[in-house]
Amino acid sequence: MAANGAPTTITQGSRTRGGVGESTLRPDGTLKVTGEFAYSSDMWHEDMLWGQILRSTVAHAEIVSIDTGEALATPGVYAVMTYDDLPTDVRTYGLEIQDTPVLAHGRVRHHGEPVAIVAADHPETARRAAAKIKVEYRELPVITDEASATAPDAVLVHENRDDHHIGHVPHPNIVHRQPILRGDADAAAARADVIVKGEYYFGMQDQAFLGPESGLAVPAEDGGVDLYIATQWLHSDLRQIAPVLGLPEDKVRMTLSGVGGAFGGREDLSMQIHACLLAIRTGKPVKIVYNRFESFFGHVHRHPARLSYEHGATRDGKLTHLRCRIVLDGGAYASASPAVVGNASSLAVGPYVVEDVDIEALALYSNNPPCGAMRGFGAVQACFAYEAQMDKVAKELGMDPVEFRRINAMEQGTLMPTGQPVDSPAPVAELLRRVKAMPMPPERQWESSEGADVRQLPGGLSNTTHGEGVVRGVGYAVGIKNVGFSEGFDDYSTAKVRMEVVGGVPVATVHTAMAEVGQGGVTVHAQIARTELGVTQVTINPADTRVGSAGSTSASRQTYVTGGAVKNACELVREKVLEIGRRKFGSYHPAWATAELLLEGGKVVTDGGEVLTDLADVLEDEAVEVEEEWRHRPTEAFDLRTGQGNGHVQYSFAAHRAVVEVDTELGLVKVVELACAQDVGKALNPLSVVGQIQGGTTQGLGIAIMEEIVVDPKTAKVRNPSFTDYLLPTILDTPTIPVDVLELADDHAPYGLRGIGEAPTLSSTPAVLAAIRNATGLTLDRTPVRPEHLTGTA
């Protein structure tokens, strides 16, 4: 029973060759511009019900009682479920630590935690019925920061922890702690001519993908369930869903529906289990769609962080040492916190040579909203702090901030503080040089013959200034991000590639479980197949769990890892095709045995360009199919005491120059231009690469000047869960973003490519902050910067 609106197979043909390195267009582009592309919230099924989740109204409380009577008696309601209705003993889930209750059991640990679920025949009926469930809470004191988490009498957010981090953390309210020790920071500090300290705060950012959490669960006759869902990793979801339902994994059949953005916010489960539970309970298809308010509670956020940094430097501009401590607030459940700690600590030094370091990063358990994956993943918070420090040290030394960075820039061969050598290009100084060399935007660009164009001034259409009190500033930053899952994780992907002749034309079909969330993986897979198999027609099958895991669409890894898997599977298919060719035609031409053979333009050709035969004649009615896992080179765990280890797969670098104009009287900021230079190794699709860089840059701009989830420090309740109160950059807030793409191949990676999605989100924020500091002369040690921080009225 196929659901209406389920994804259809996409076939891309092209008159051009359309292989790797070309800006081919998205295979789903037409569906997306005509409104026909089926997102998870567009799923529809005959006779379907709507699910609704009741969430806690307080952050930390015992649940004294739950009364579902009135909700159940509401006409149109088919089911109400609480913890007691869960079908098996597996009642929690989690990416790494299974500490998150499917439905609250006796206690809620954060504002907006799921307590009960309802299914009804109209979404409004479901909402109203959920509101009729009476939950009596006995409130508990809230843990909101490091002091309250580690106080002697602190309530434990999770009692009886038995996860693999509990043995090495200094307090049970600390999820994970990772020190990185190398050299002798004390001795190095003694050599320093200047020592610069800073305390920084990074606010809680929301992924704010536009397509809300949603999906459709359809009960099947075999007792299983078919789930159409927007996620970043189908198989990770499956591993967490199936045990809660008490079903074997092959009875939970998942298909990726259209995903309206992700940015890390779909790594954790949201409504998946709830929809399946209600579908199995009622025997009817159940659709759940969060509204925006619920979405703010329905996924984890970027960790807010407090960062204490101390750098030393000699008069000639060489960094001597780094001491730093990064405290991330993980909120009520672990989510991806341990891995975020690993990133924040191992990348805390930034893209610089510092041989003597004493680094510590940790994540707290608290009663704040759970935090986990978001684009940049721990490296973002660190970059904000170390780049502020670089400007401070340069100023202390009387040096130009870009020149100071150049002197200390890492390069290929540099050892990371983890002891890992950087064994592919690390063009940090070159990226800074390039971004600095870009032409500057004209001064007073808002002036015209007809007076000031307020749309280009701080305050915009609010018409708050015509240039009075407006000063310009310029700032630079550069960052380093790891690519792929780190610390020894078995980070593989799977691809199934089939080649056959359809209507006389050779066609390749690519099937993976990769979550296309907008990044353009489907475009790239077709390009890879064309390049490797010499076909023009490529069919990309919908992603589902009938093929092996592709791993997560996160950590800038999919083009590298699933792209690598597709390339590998294509190569295996090609070998099989050539074997068939040798068998059939080998005796007719010696080149079959002696030459290097390629598939190009639907033909088998020698590397010298001689055509041997048509692919159609080789294959005839035979199909060649390969499904194969593919792995990048392995990584190692970081030593728990010293942080030493070859923990990362690959590094990625970007640099930004921000030009801002600040209305110093009102504290309003207009970002005039945000230029970026990034090394991408090899741009498989230059158009998509630039799109990723510009999108990532803009998310960095958002956290610099407007985006922050505000949590009440007294109640741990979220105060701005809406797009009216949580501000995202509009097209008027966003400047031109010129991009300079550098392509220095990484010989370890497929086609020499480098994962690109996250690096531009790192340096964008500190560049904007540096520009605002440059304009105003203020210190500004927190982000986002709000007007009150610029006018001294905070």
Partner: protein, 210 residues
Amino acid sequence: MRVNFTVNGRPQEADDVWEGESLLYVLRERMGLPGSKNACEQGECGSCTVRLDGVPVCSCLVAAGQAEGREVVTVEGLAEFAEDRAKDRAKDRAEGCATGACGSRGSGGSGAGASLDEARRRQAKGTDSQTGEGIELAPIQQAFIDAGAVQCGFCTPGLLVAADEMLERTPNPTDADIREALSGNLCRCTGYEKIMDAVRLAAARQSEEV
């Protein structure tokens, strides 16, 4: 209640509409037109933008009953709507322009630069993207594909309706005009640069046709 209105040129009727339902809900859930997206339900993001008697509105903020007897255009009908408009304009031109909309080629569309030329070269056809027959697209839809303005695509329907309306009013917009007209439509993926390229491209192609 029963609501009657015209959607994409065809009369539609919805029964059993609850008074609290929005135009967006009725389009998506009762008329099988899920192209208009629900991303904030409070008029902040523009993903649900449709034309209501020609005026772009957030359909999440319009009660279904308010649409009674009126004409709605959604992204699903945008190509046909644009084609009809083009035919009308061609007819106007043949009869001698009286609207002032034509002949105003001006020097707008500043900042188009290299990326616009690149996007022109990439020009896609509807048939490139799918199995089966070609699909007629509105110029703004074509430009969004060609310029790389679509990533996740969730904001795209609303942006297309808003951008098409802006180009109808302002055939040769400056960059500041485009930014102002689209400032009610949030996009989280692209950083808006490729959206700017797409609108400039559609404007340039439109001027070439005049």
